[in-house]
Each structure stands twice: as C-alpha cells, then as structure tokens.
C-alpha cells in the first residue's frame, strides 16, 4: 500500500487520481500510524513552506522514521523542498536536511512563479527517471527552487539551473508535478510504484 500524506495543505486529488489510474493501492492519510504500516510514502505539497508546520502532529517523526527504515519516499513540489535543509520562504521552519542546501527564490531576471512545461536534463542511473527521454517536458508551478547537488538526477533551466529531481537510495523528490505531466509524469509515478 502507498500512503499519500495529507497534512491539510492544498488538494491531493490529482496525485491520488494518477495512482488510481496506474492501478496502485493508495491511501490518503494524516495518521502517523498509517505511514508506519505503508510500503511506500508519497509526500505531496503545495503552497507556502510555512504550511509544513502542520507536520508537527507526529507526521514529521513518522516520515523521518520511514526514511531511516529505507522505506521508499517520493516528495513532490513542496514535499521535495522539505527534503532539503530549509527554504528562504520561511526561515523558522527546518527541512528534513536529507539533502544539503536551502531552497531559494529565482533571480530577478525571470518572472516568478515559474509556471508551465519545462524540460529535464536527465542524469543517467536514476531509478525514478528510468526510461524518461532526455529533454522530456514536465509541468512546474513554484516560486522557490532547490540547488543542484550530487543527488540531482534531473536539472531544469529557468534563470539558472535548479534541481528538477533528486534521488538517494530510496528517497526521491521531484519539484515538478508528475500527476500533471501527461505520459511522462505517469511513467515516473509508475517507476516509483515499481521501486
């Protein structure tokens, strides 16, 4: 069973619907206990970094415990940003610190937010992006971006190069919305189901 973490921010329907379409067994939950029982966890997110305060109910601990047990975790959008140390968007809230660096604003040379379909420069060897062609397009909508690190598996250019996807062991993150990225996005979610 794949658990989708519902911490009360935004709309999780699209993510759930995409997994339903793929035939995955899915449960949307705000219960730390359900996360412990799940085989895999999807941590979607949308909106402001401060909304992650809602993880204080025990969800943060449950997420970090799942990660330490090697349970596959996929962070989407704000969910991926949480995997880093923090964000300029809200300095008081710490990220999980699984990946180094902080999420920052885009340079003033480009409009913000970054909204629309942009291409991925895919690095070889990613399990999440297996079979995804170079320069595939995915749908983004965000104002803050994560830095490139050794864990970056796909980079996107918008005013600068930023992390479109990250991966280390069973921890995965995508800044774009695979559930809104057509066949490319569905293929990525299918890869996660098969990890």
């Amino acid at each position: 069973m794949i658990a989708i973490v519902d911490y009360g921010a935004g709309n999780l329907n699209s993510v759930k619907k995409a997994f339903d379409y793929l035939g995955a067994e899915i449960m949307v939950t705000n219960e730390p206990g359900t996360l412990a029982a799940a085989n895999k966890i999807v941590f979607p997110g949308v909106g402001h970094f401060s909304s992650l305060r809602a993880l204080d109910t025990g969800l943060r601990k449950a997420l970090l415990h799942a990660v330490s047990m090697g349970k596959p975790l996929l962070g989407i959008c704000l969910g991926m940003q949480w995997l880093f140390e923090g964000s300029e968007e809200c300095a008081e809230i710490a990220g999980a610190g699984i990946f180094p660096g902080k999420c920052r604003q885009f340079p003033s040379s480009v409009k913000s937010p970054h909204v629309g379909w942009n291409s991925l420069t895919v690095k070889e060897g990613s399990r999440l992006l297996r079979g995804i062609a170079q320069d595939s397009f995915v749908y983004y909508t965000h104002s803050f971006h994560a830095p490139l690190t050794v864990a970056t598996t796909a980079a996107t250019e918008y005013g600068l190069q930023f992390a479109g996807a990250v991966e280390r062991g069973n921890i995965f993150g995508v800044q774009f919305h695979p559930e809104k990225s057509g066949d490319v996005g569905l293929a990525i979610l299918k890869n996660f189901c098969e990890v």
Binding site: S14, P113, G116, T141
Partner: protein
Amino acid sequence: MLTKRIIACLDMDGGRVVKGVRFKNLRDAGDPAECATAHARSGADEIVLLDITATSGNRNTLLEAVRGTARSLFVPFTVGGGIRQLEDAAAVFDAGADKIAINSAAVHDPALIGKIAARFGSQAVVVAIDARKTDRSAQGSFEVYVSGGRVPTGRDAIEWAQEAAACGAGEILLTSMDRDGTQSGFDCELVRAVAEAVSIPVIASGGAGSARDFIEVFRDGRADAALAASIFHFGLENIAELKRELRDASIPVRWPC
C-alpha cells in the same frame, strides 16, 4: 527552456461542450471528458472547462462533468463559471480540478482570491478578466466588464490585474472582448500591457484564428500562454499542427507531447 502554453477551452452548457459565436447559436461539440482527453492527446498543454450557464441549479451537472473529465486527464485542468465563494471552489477542487477561474466574484470581493489561495495555494487561483478598449484612439485604456461581459465596472484592466496579483492570484486569464469570437487575432496591446504590469503568468484569450495570431501574441504580446476554444473544435486548427508552426517560428513549445 520554459515553453509557451497552448490551452484548449471547453465551453459547457448543461453538461455538454458547446460552441457558438459570443454565446449565441450554440452547437453541440461533444462530451467534456472526451473533448478534454482528445485535446490533451493532440498536444494541449492545459484544459479549461468553462460553465457558461452557471446557474446555481446546474452545479451538480458541472461537478459531475468535472469528475468525469478529471478521471483520465493528466495535464493541468482549470474550471470556471459560477464560482462565487470558497465553498464553490472547494467543491470544484474536490471534484478534481487543479485550478479554478473566478471573474465577477473576484471583482465584487477581491478578498475571495486570498481566501481560496490560502486554502489551495496561489497556483490554483486563476483570475479571469474580461476587458474592452474604452475608445479606439491610441490613448484608450482597457475597462473591466463582469457578468459575462454585460456589465462595465469602470475599472482599469491593468490596475485590476495588479490588484488581483497582490491579492494572491496565481495567473491572469485575460480576454479581449473586442476580439472574442472574431478570429481576427489576439489583442497584443492589451496582453502586453498586462503582462508587463504583473509578474504572474498571463494567459491571452479572445481572437485566435490562425497560427500567426499565436506567434504574434507570444512575441509581441509577451503572453505566457494562449487560450482558444472555437478554432480547436470541429478541426479548424489542429493543436499538433499549430505547435509545429510555432516551433518553426522559434517559439518554445512542448513538442513532442
């Protein structure tokens, strides 16, 4: 590279996609779910479903159509028409929309933008603006109209777009009433004025008739996205063919899809 989006708009009346000229002489153009999937398959980057009747008695029909359409659609999906309060928006999101479009209700109560954005995120709130040039002279400004373009508000379109963005709108869907339904090209002057005044994306609407019109609105109008309804129905313009022409003109588009 960030691409320019081509958005297919489905006007819906009583659960069916319809096409007419300026909401008159409506012709049946099919089932919303089928139309949306077909457009997405032919390369639409996004789908907008607009309930043009939007009477309160029709809400269940709309929600049913949203549910049916969302089930097998995996590109961004915006729903507009008759959303007057937070609860209306919540019901539409719950049915499977990714974004909602609000028009008259936002003009009457700009705080509604922030209320929906606080709960669902700014990326989910599209403020639709219908505007018309006040006079034909070069000095003419653009006035905002509400209630399906029937009621002038005396408000300046550029100022309203800036206010909407400040209130938390994620995108502006800007329709030129002068061009809507004419297929004589987008109003690049209007689109450019708004696109340069706000930092959020501007979707140009009204007047699409040919690939040349899209090239102009992206190049001269500085639009981030362009929306059309009529030319994508009945095979007047195939989205894949349109994208090929845009690519040949060095406009960045998502291709292949």
